[in-house]
Amino acid sequence: MELFRAHVLVCCGTGCTSSNSQKIIEQFDKLLPENGLETEVKVVKTGCFGLCAEGPIVVVYPEGVMYYRVTPADVSEIVLEHLLKGRHVNRLMTLSAEPESLTALAAEDSGFFKKQKRIALRNCGVINPEEIDEYIANDGYLALGNILTEKRDPLSIIEVVKKSGLRGRGGGGFPTGLKWEFAAKVENDTKYVCCNADEGDPGAFMDRSILEGDPHSIIEAMAIAGYCIGSSQGYIYVRAEYPIAVQRLKHAIKQAKEYKLLGDDIFGSGFSFDLDIRLGAGAFVCGEETALMRSIEGKRGNPTPRPPFPAVRGLFGKPTILNNVETYANIPIIINQGAEWFASIGTEKSKGTKVFALGGKVNNVGLVEIPMGTTVREIVFDIGGGIPNGKAYKAVQTGGPSGGCIPSSLLDIPIDYDNLVAAGSMMGSGGMIVMDEDTCMVDIAKFFLEFTVDESCGKCTPCRIGTTRMFELLTKITDGTGTMEDLTSLETIAVSLKNASLCALGQTAANPILSTMKHFRDEYIEHVVDKKCRCHVCKGLTEYYIDPEMCKKCSMCAKKCPVNCISGVIGKEPYVIDASKCIKCGACMETCKFKAVLRK
C-alpha cells in the first residue's frame, strides 16, 4: 500500500460542488506533480464537512487544518506554502463570521464542531465516498459480515435495534426495531426493504449529504434490514433533483456487487440481497410512506389509508419496511458498538443524535449533528455562531411545512421528539431555519401554506380544500383586508384539517399557522387591526414615500424605478412616488444615498 505524508481532503458535496470544488481538485492534480509532490501528497474527494456556507472547504491532514472559501486560484498558495514549506495559509483559515477561530488550528476545535457528535455523519468528510475500500477500512461492512458469517438469529439483531432506542429520523419518530419486528413476524415469501431518500422538505439536506458522503452505510444497513425481516430485494427512492447523490449511489451499488457484498449468497451465508434505485419526480407527498410505495409501483403518489400498515401490505402488496436515510446510517454502528452505547447518548425517550440542516439567518449555515437533548440555543448561538449583522433572533422553524416555530422563550428546551411536539413543532426530517427580526411570521405561514396547497395530492377533501381556504385567508390578511373573524376561521379549519386528513401531509399542514398564531399572535393582530407589517415584508401593508426635506433632487431613485412611478425635476423639485403605481420593490430605497426614501 502506498503511503503519503499528507492528505488533502476536498469537499465534493452539492454545496461545495456548486461553488467549484471540482476545479480545485483539477488544480491540485496539476500543481502537485509540477512541484514533485505527487508521491507525497494525496488528494481525496470527500462528502460534506457540514460548514456549507464557508465552502468550498479543503482540509489538510495530518494537521487537520481547514481552509474556507478556497478558490482555484488559492490552490497554488496552499501547495507552495503549506504542502511544500509547512507554513499554514492563515488568510484562508478565518471563518467570515467567527474571527476568534483563527487561534483554533484544527478544525475539530472550532466552535462549529465542538458541540457536535458525529454518528450518522461519521464518514462524511472523512472518506472518499466513491472508494468502497475506504468505507471498509473504517469498519464498513463489518456489521453485515459479522451477522452473516456468525449466522446470527435475525430476531436477536432486531432486539439490538430495539434496545438501542433508535427512532425513525424521517420525522415521525416511530421505533425502528419495532417496525422491523412487525415485518419480520409476517409470513410471506416476498418482502421488501425500502429507503426513503425523497427529501422534499425545503431547506433540509441531511439525507442528501449522507448519500453523497457515505453511500455504502445505507447499502450495508439495508442488507442488514433485509436479513432481519427475510427480504432479498431493496429499493432506494431518491429525488431526481439530487444528481450527485444518485450518481454516487449507483457507483456504490456497482462496487458492492463487484465485492459480492450485494447479490447472491453474500459472505457464503446463503443470504441474497439486491438493491435498485427509483427516481422520484418532484412530489412532496411521496415522502409519505404509502404514497412513496405507490410511486415506486409507477403510479400517482396518492397515499392510501392505514391499516393495513406497510409491514403487512406495502410495496406491490407485500410486507415492506421503509426507513429514512439517516435512520439506516445509524444501523451499522449500532450493531458494531452495541445497543447500550447508543442508548447512553441522548435523552430518556430519544436516543442517539440527530442531524440538522441549519440554514436561514445564521452565521454558520451547514449540517450539524448533535446529541439529542442539546438546546436550540446551543445550536443557533454556539454551533451556528448567532445571527448575522447584529440582528435579533425571532424564531427557529423545524419540521418544514409540517412543523412550527420555536420562539426565543423556548430557546432552552432540550431537543428531542417529544419536547418539539409539546412546543407545537416537530422533529421533522431535520430542517432548521433561523429567522431574525426582519422575517414576518404571517408571511412565513403563508409561504408554507402556498407550498402545501401546491403539494397536496388532492385525494382527500379536508387537505385539498382546507389548505386552499387557509391560504386564501392568509393572503387576505397579508394584503391588509383581513378581519378578526378570519383569525377564528383559520383556527377552525386548522383543527378540522388535523382531524380529518388522510395522511400526515394534511394532518400537519396547519402546524405552521397554529404555531405562529400561538407564539406571534401580536403580529397577526397588527396585520389585521393596525394594517401594519412590522417587517415591511407584506407588500399590501407597506407604502414607500420620499421625505421632501431630505430629498436632494438627484433623480437616482426615478432612474432605478422599474415601473417609472417616481416623478420630479433634477435639482429643482423633490421627487414623489405615485403610490397607485408603485410595486413596492424597494429599489428606490436601496438606491437613495441620502436616506430620503422611507416606508411605513
Binding site: T14, G15, S18, S19, L51, C52, A53, E54, G55, E199, G200, D201, P202, G203, A204, F205, R208, A240, E241, Y242, R278, L279, G280, A281, G282, A283, F284, S295, I296, E297, G298, K299, R300, G301, A357, G359, G360, K361, V365, G366, Q397, G400, G431, I433, M435, T439, I444, F447, F448, F451, C457, P562, C585, G586, A587
Partner: protein, 162 residues
C-alpha cells in the same frame, strides 16, 4: 436542461430505442420510461404519452395521470436556457422572492412561462439543497449562490450573448 438540438426524426428514433427496452413492462416501468422520454424531448407532448401508453400496455389516461401528478414532468416545452429559482425556506428567508421578481421583470415573463422566442424560461423550484449558498438560482446546470437582485442583470446578459 441543456438539451442537445436533435431533429424530430432523431428524437423519434431515440424514443423508439427507449420504448423497445420497456415493451410490455406495464405500470412499474412507467416513471423511468417517462423520465427518459423527457430527457429526449425536453417535455412530454401528448403524442409521446400515447406512444408510451401503447408500449407499456396502459391507457393514455393512466399515463397522463402520472405525468400531470409529478412536477418533474412538463407538458409545456421549456426555453433553451432555464432559470430555476430556489424558493426553499432557507432561500426564501434570505430574499429569493426578490431575485425571482427581478428575473421576471428583466425577461418579461412569469415563472412557469417561456419567452416568445423560446430562448428563456423561468421555473421556481423547491430546494436544490445548496442552502449554504442561499439565495441560489440554477441557470441550466450552473449554480449561482449568495445572490443579490443587483447581480441578476449581469447573469442574464451572459446567457443572452451566448
Amino acid at each position: 436542461m441543456g438539451i442537445d438540438k436533435l431533429t424530430p426524426e432523431e428524437m423519434a428514433e431515440k424514443l423508439d430505442e427507449v420504448l423497445a427496452q420497456n415493451k410490455g413492462q406495464g405500470q412499474k416501468a412507467l416513471m423511468s420510461t417517462l423520465q427518459e422520454a423527457q430527457e429526449i424531448y425536453g417535455f412530454l407532448p401528448l403524442t409521446v404519452q400515447k406512444k408510451v401508453a401503447m408500449t407499456l400496455e396502459l391507457s393514455v389516461a393512466e399515463v397522463y395521470g402520472v405525468v400531470s401528478f409529478y412536477s418533474f414532468f412538463s407538458l409545456k416545452p421549456k426555453g433553451d436556457t432555464v432559470f430555476s429559482i430556489c424558493l426553499g425556506t432557507a432561500c426564501y428567508v434570505k430574499g429569493s422572492r426578490k431575485i425571482l421578481d427581478k428575473i421576471e421583470e428583466i425577461l418579461g415573463i412569469k415563472s412557469g412561462d417561456v419567452t416568445p422566442d423560446k430562448k428563456f424560461s423561468i421555473s421556481a423550484c423547491r430546494c436544490i439543497g445548496a442552502c449554504g449558498l442561499a439565495p441560489v438560482i440554477m441557470v441550466n446546470d450552473d449554480v449561482y449562490g449568495r445572490l443579490t437582485p443587483d447581480e441578476i442583470p449581469g447573469i442574464i446578459a451572459k446567457y443572452k450573448e451566448a
